[in-house]
Symmetry: C2
Subunit: 329 residues, 2 copies
DNA sequence: TCCGTTTGTGTAATCGTGTACACAATCATG
DNA sequence: CATGATTGTGTACACGATTACACAAACGGA
């Protein structure tokens, strides 16, 4: 128990071959006699030998580690994608290292630490990280996979999201229902993706001679949605709130209903963004601007695979969002 | 751009020293002239040098990687703990590798893959993994940190949870409210922790001459909570459902309310377990048997630190749960 | 001044694989 | 049967750091 892991050289001695042959036995297509391989694999199983991935990485210059930079783990607005991606990576024998950090400086520090582990790929889900920072830190690794922010850089692939059409549909419906005064509740003060999303709705409103009348900033959590909605509804008479994500929308809905007795969709319309599973729960039934998570992760995985196969150049993929109708708008 | 990472030997040449001295410059307490260190660090910064953690790990026999075995990432019943733990690990310069897999065989395969990376610690959050499997796979690493299942093994530290008192309180209240017929909705068919939790409630009922009348099995998700509650309520006339976690409880509540018009707590009592943040949201307001997540993760981190410092022997810590009152029971 | 201790640095081995190269044995082919 | 291709294996080095050991210089106390 607790004894040292057996090494390839030791196994070589046990099997009466050289350590090179051990290595070959574990490489799918390498010149080795099938009898030798079988014998080695059997001896290996017997002694619990597994090649040391750290040593292999050092030699290969490939760690098969992937850094996932995320805002938070708990927040459902990202969790579904994280979950999907982790599964897909694991199926490809890639191991995800999670980097998750609230504070800006810490996050850079953390990314530097991860870069030290020679990660093969980097996926940035967090909108709190500037792509330039990511490139500076990981420029020695091969191209970076980015989720949203486009950046002119040979190392950066990205995925663009277009929700303008869906936002237009949603605004159309709400305006037809007689609502006129819109508020936008952002998820962050200054993230690239948040501004983009806001613009989709602002454009749809402008098209109809309307505008965002009131504005607030949260942090993508239920509590912030609740709190900011209360403040918002006290200081202005809006009858529709577009929220930066679904969780904040649920918070805003609760605040309106509980503290001000306003119900959706009659008294007030509330719209979320992301299209997480929870938004469709019976108790929420949210109208939301939804992104197809599977398609999204498919795209990410596609970029990673291109990258893993050393295919040239970064790529860009565009996905469009859909409206998902609930009873809140 | 995209140029190879500079190596310690190259930096040594640039700084006019040997590579050993480079290494010393990056080791906090090693014999090196402070002038030399400053010069090296400055040259290093200039050329973007960072020691290669893979190479260091190979030499050190310490990877500073931690494997986190979890049921799922998206499910809030674990997510809060995962989030907390990841933060705490990162603060200690430990990088978490997430292992998350639905299928049993895949999970073992995955754990083997991770063991290959010489992880320093293993935290098993998942109740789907037998501790014996974990020990077999990771026996070459130093002791394993385990969350729940106790196992007599010199490599396994664990955290025991005691919710019997809190379960008793909750049952007391529900019985006082006039409920008599209890159902238990499990999270899994055969996990150690699930049986333990069920026992807390069964004992509390037995003390009052009652018993679990009906039973069902879900998978810790909202959908399974919803679906199983419908089946349960159709086949038996229970007036209280104890659920394996909060998310299933929310599903069960929705099912009762929507499909059968039964409201909590008057028509039916519903109890969750975990005490996740979402349970306290205004729209849920769940009564739940809650575990203090911070205390829990403190305990995990404590075990890891002991372990990291090579302190002898595995340890065991017991935490007690509390009742958290909402309007569902 | 002399000797023992401390300080700073270089040399070389080590961690566990993968693989280029060399070479012997086997095989196919005419 | 001769020859060239193919197959199987061993030797030796590389990957990039850490560290035991050696040694020179500086230093302190008598």
């Amino acid at each position: 128990m607790n004894k040292r892991r057996i090494t390839s050289k030791e196994l070589a001695k046990l099997a009466g071959v050289s350590s090179a042959t051990i290595s070959r036995a574990f490489s799918p297509d390498s010149r080795i006699g099938s009898a030798t391989r079988d014998r080695i694999l059997s001896v290996a199983r017997e002694h619990g030998y597994q090649p040391n991935a750290i040593a292999r990485s050092l030699n290969n210059q490939r760690s098969r580690l992937v850094a996932l930079v995320v805002n938070a783990i708990g927040n459902p607005c990202e969790a579904e994608e994280q979950q999907l991606l982790v599964h897909r990576l694991q199926a490809r024998q890639l191991l995800p290292i999670i980097l998750c950090c609230a504070d800006h400086d810490d996050r850079l520090q953390l990314m530097r630490l991860a870069s030290t582990y020679q990660v093969d790929h980097v996926v940035v889900f967090s909108d709190m990280v500037s792509m330039q920072d990511a490139v500076d830190i990981f420029h020695t690794t091969k191209p970076i996979i980015v989720s949203f922010e486009p950046l002119e850089n040979e190392n950066v692939s990205n995925i663009r999201i277009d929700g303008s059409a869906a936002a237009d549909e949603i605004i159309e419906k709400i305006v037809n229902d007689g609502k006129k005064r819109f508020a936008y509740l952002s998820g962050t003060k200054s993230s690239w993706i948040d501004k983009l999303r806001r613009k989709w709705f602002a454009d749809a409103l402008a098209k109809r001679g309307l505008a965002i009348e009131a504005e607030a900033f949260g942090d993508y959590t239920y509590d912030s949605g609740f709190k900011e909605a209360v403040l918002l509804l006290h200081r202005s008479k809006v009858d529709a709130i577009i929220c930066g994500n679904d969780v904040m929308a649920i918070g805003a809905r609760d605040a309106a209903r509980r503290l001000l007795g306003k119900n959706t969709p009659d008294d007030i319309a509330i719209v979320g963004q992301d299209g997480i599973a929870m938004a469709a729960w019976d108790c929420n039934d949210l109208t939301t601007l939804s992104l197809d998570h599977v398609a999204f992760i498919d795209a990410v995985v596609d970029l990673i695979e291109r990258h893993d196969a050393d295919l040239p150049g970064p790529h860009s993929i565009t996905l469009t969002c859909n409206a998902r109708w609930g009873s809140t708008a």
